[in-house]
Symmetry: C2
Subunit: 239 residues, 2 copies
């Protein structure tokens, strides 16, 4: 990896994505299985989806992350945010490497996972409420990357509208509250929750209701699908 012009080595550069959703009432992250080939690092280990930047195809880092996201989920524009970078001489046996980590939130409703060219398998792995990781042993330093992503998500949930991106386009306030509770790992008081969501101007009614064996619930959607909303205070309960 020596540069002919610059006469010094540059590290390997990858982009990895922590893709979160809510599956069967729990927070889950998308994992891909690394190839079986013995010349590959961490063969057969589960890992966050990602890989090298394609200097011809990717105009910038975000485009690279979007491409990888689309390869795995088929979705073009779920919520996508840069988390941070991890780089050093120890994290990849092939040498000094840097990975740009993104995290994405999406609704798994009707989603078909796709195995990529370099991934034999794909799955959703559950993240328990008091944990920051999954049961599987992950490749590289992906345990660290995932823990950072989970912490960022849990932290921002306290004061932003991020969990709304884990739901399909239309949802009831009870469903939204439930997602907050799943991500936070603790119950949220209904009245306070609704006041907050209402005051923040986060959602708007759609002229439909969710029917069930009891009183039907009003359906809502996000006013702006693009940007998260910041609340003036956190959800922190009384000490």
């Amino acid at each position: 990896m020596k540069s002919p012009k610059l006469d010094f080595d540059t590290p390997l550069v990858t982009v990895d994505i922590a893709i979160f959703s809510v599956i069967e009432g729990a927070l889950a992250v998308l994992l891909v299985k690394r190839p079986d080939a013995p010349e590959e690092p961490f063969p057969n280990h589960w890992a966050l989806p990602g890989g090298f930047i394609d200097l011809d195809q990717d105009a910038d880092l975000l485009a690279c992350a979007r491409r990888k996201l689309k390869e795995k989920t088929g979705l073009a524009s779920p919520y996508l945010e840069q988390l941070g970078a991890w780089g050093g001489n120890k994290r990849d046996p092939r040498g000094w490497s840097v990975t740009q980590v993104y995290f994405s939130l999406l609704s798994a409703d009707g989603l078909e996972l796709r195995a990529g060219a370099n991934a034999a398998d794909v799955k959703w792995a559950r993240i328990e409420q008091n944990e920051t990781g999954v049961d599987d042993r992950l490749a590289f330093d992906h345990k660290t990357l995932l823990a950072a992503a989970v912490q960022r998500l849990r932290g921002k949930v306290e004061y932003t509208s991020l969990p709304a991106f884990l739901l399909p386009e239309e949802f009831t306030l009870s469903e939204l509250q439930r997602v907050y509770e799943i991500v936070l790992g603790r119950p949220v008081e209904k009245s306070a929750f609704r006041k907050r969501v209402g005051d923040a101007g986060l959602v708007e009614k759609v002229p439909r209701q969710r029917l069930s064996a009891n009183r039907p619930a009003q359906l809502y959607r996000l006013k702006k699908r693009a940007a998260p909303i910041y609340f003036p205070r956190t959800f922190s309960p009384r000490g």
Copy 2:
């Protein structure tokens, strides 16, 4: 930059740092002048200090940032935080490049700036209260990087103890309040400020006073120099 093992190109990788301090009552950022040599990109332009990773010398990204910080300021451990990464095929005329941007806060008291090997000159550039940048035209996309760093700093000041890292080790509460006002660009109410700082357990008294032509002020220092403190609410004034 083709990898012999992996058979594809990797981008150039740099680390840049936005080093902030308070100089003459205003927020300021440290800039270095790029070399005069015509083969260099942006000759003679001011830029954020930074440069390529030294794969032999730097164990990881943070170590690389610390090395560059020490080269310019002589300081070993001021506040240093990862801001984000910018990468693409347009930002450097030499090709696809990624820069890892850090930001640092330090007290300029008694600091001697040092010109680095690749920088003919060093200076503090003032950032006006309603601006996110400096008067000089900066090299590469450093205007964008600097604006992001300033916004992150201003944003976090609303709910963290970050400005304390812009002061020398011992300071009075009035001095601390003044730094908050400089970074926020608006006055802060004294009583509320002191209650907040007190409740957060941010500082502790040292047995000394700052003497002047009036009532002397109690000197304080941070309880923990390492980590910033998060306040439960922001400083936002009433709307």
